[in-house]
């Protein structure tokens, strides 16, 4: 009786077995890298807005403070989007005929708010509060990136739970002094570990509770 398989079949069999062994691992790796990639997290993706507002121009070149428009950031969970009146405080006098600003003028005339689109958004089961972060040593750019360098607004960080926990597990690595919270170009100094520990004490933060579930979830 003739052989069913030729000798070469041994090789295919071995390769097949090897493939089966590495398949689950490589599928896992593929999934893992996809969920870490900007294709999934949206990092760096610009969001189309009703008016192409430039933070680089307003916050960077003109040096207008974040809190001029985002008035709620020190007091409330939500940082606040400015009402149309805030835009028109200056644009009632300058660039009054700019086509780019037509939606802003229309919004004021019709008393209908502009529909700005969210750039960063957290799931509804996360109870994030801006005020508690900016009044306890976390600066804007730690989460939003160097906004003063962005012509159009893009998400700067993945805002996944793992990313939040990076800081909540080791807050001292990123904490800033009070005067540096709104500084878009702040970088941790060389002696940040020591400074960070002192700042934890300064703000009265009990770091051991920052990873409690109920800190972010209810």
């Amino acid at each position: 009786m003739a052989q069913v398989f030729r000798e070469r079949a041994n090789l295919f069999m071995r390769l097949g077995l090897l493939g089966l062994a590495i398949l689950p691992g490589s599928l896992g790796l593929l999934g893992f890298s996809y969920y870490r990639s900007s294709a999934y997290t949206g990092v760096g993706r610009y969001v189309e807005q009703p008016v192409p507002f430039s933070h680089r121009h307003h916050a960077g070149e003109l040096g207008i403070d974040c809190r001029y428009c985002h008035t709620g950031v020190e007091k409330a969970a939500f940082a606040d989007l400015p009402p149309t009146e805030t835009c028109m405080t200056c644009h009632s006098q300058i660039w009054t005929n700019a086509a780019m600003l037509a939606p802003v003028r229309k919004s004021l005339a019709d008393n209908r708010p502009l529909r700005w689109q969210r750039v960063t958004s957290l799931p509804d089961y996360v109870y994030f509060d801006h005020s508690v972060h900016v009044s306890n040593g976390v600066g804007c750019s730690s989460c939003h990136g160097d906004v003063a360098a962005m012509p159009l607004m893009a998400k700067a960080e993945p805002m996944t739970m793992g990313w939040c926990l990076d800081c909540h597990r080791d807050p001292a690595a990123k904490l800033r002094p009070e005067e540096a919270i709104f500084d878009m170009r702040w970088q941790p100094p060389a002696d940040q570990p020591a400074k960070g520990r002192a700042l934890l004490a300064h703000y009265g933060t009990r770091a051991e509770h920052l990873t409690d579930c109920s800190v972010c979830h209810r």
């Binding site: 003109l62 403070d65 809190r67 939500f78 989007l81 009146e85 009632s92 300058i94 509804d124 089961y125």
Partner: protein, 179 residues
């Protein structure tokens, strides 16, 4: 055979409910959050305008704070300096000369705080202008809290004293601050 008749639908129900669990999206819950849209409300906005003729709980306190100048203190000047830098510098400039960056880009120039009319004005005038606006300046009622308006008024007075060259040890400027 009979066991299979019971087990198969049971398994199907179990699988179906497990799959339904995957669809239950906790990320987008049926609740209204800041700035979310709400088809049932005016202009499709979850944030609603208070009905005409109603006051919020803090309205009276805010109103009272406007008529109650706080005692000048170093902390209040520091607060005023911080708030001035946020809300006023774009037009009035760091030193209050009316040379802010937005003015450099074509906005009508506001008067310097050292103008005789403003040197003679009460602190309440500054508070009033922040509240109601003045000329081409929009009201800042919704952007600067009443207590902060007094703090800014105090800082404006400090800027005036610094620029008119009066000695800080002179009792007259201290009275001017309180005026």
């Amino acid at each position: 055979m009979r066991r299979a008749i019971i087990l198969r639908p049971a398994a199907a129900v179990l699988v179906a409910s497990a799959l339904a669990g995957c669809r239950e999206d906790m990320e987008v819950q049926p609740k209204l959050t800041a700035y979310s849209s709400a088809a049932a409300f005016d202009q499709n906005m979850a944030a609603r305008q208070p009905p005409t003729g109603t006051l919020d709980r803090e309205a009276l306190e805010r109103e009272a704070a406007l008529g109650r100048p706080p005692a000048p203190s170093e902390a209040l000047i520091r607060r005023g300096a911080e708030r001035y830098k946020i809300a006023c510098t774009p037009c009035h400039g760091e030193a209050g000369l009316g040379d802010g960056i937005v003015v450099q880009r074509g906005f009508p120039q506001p008067p310097a705080f050292t103008e005789p009319r403003l040197l003679a004005a009460d602190a309440s005038h500054v508070v009033d202008v922040i509240t109601h606006g003045w000329g081409v300046m929009y009201p800042y009622e919704n952007r600067v809290a009443p207590a902060d308006r007094w703090a800014i008024a105090l800082y404006v007075r400090a800027l005036q004293l610094a620029q008119t060259g009066k000695d800080a040890a002179d009792p007259a400027p201290a009275q001017a601050v309180q005026r």
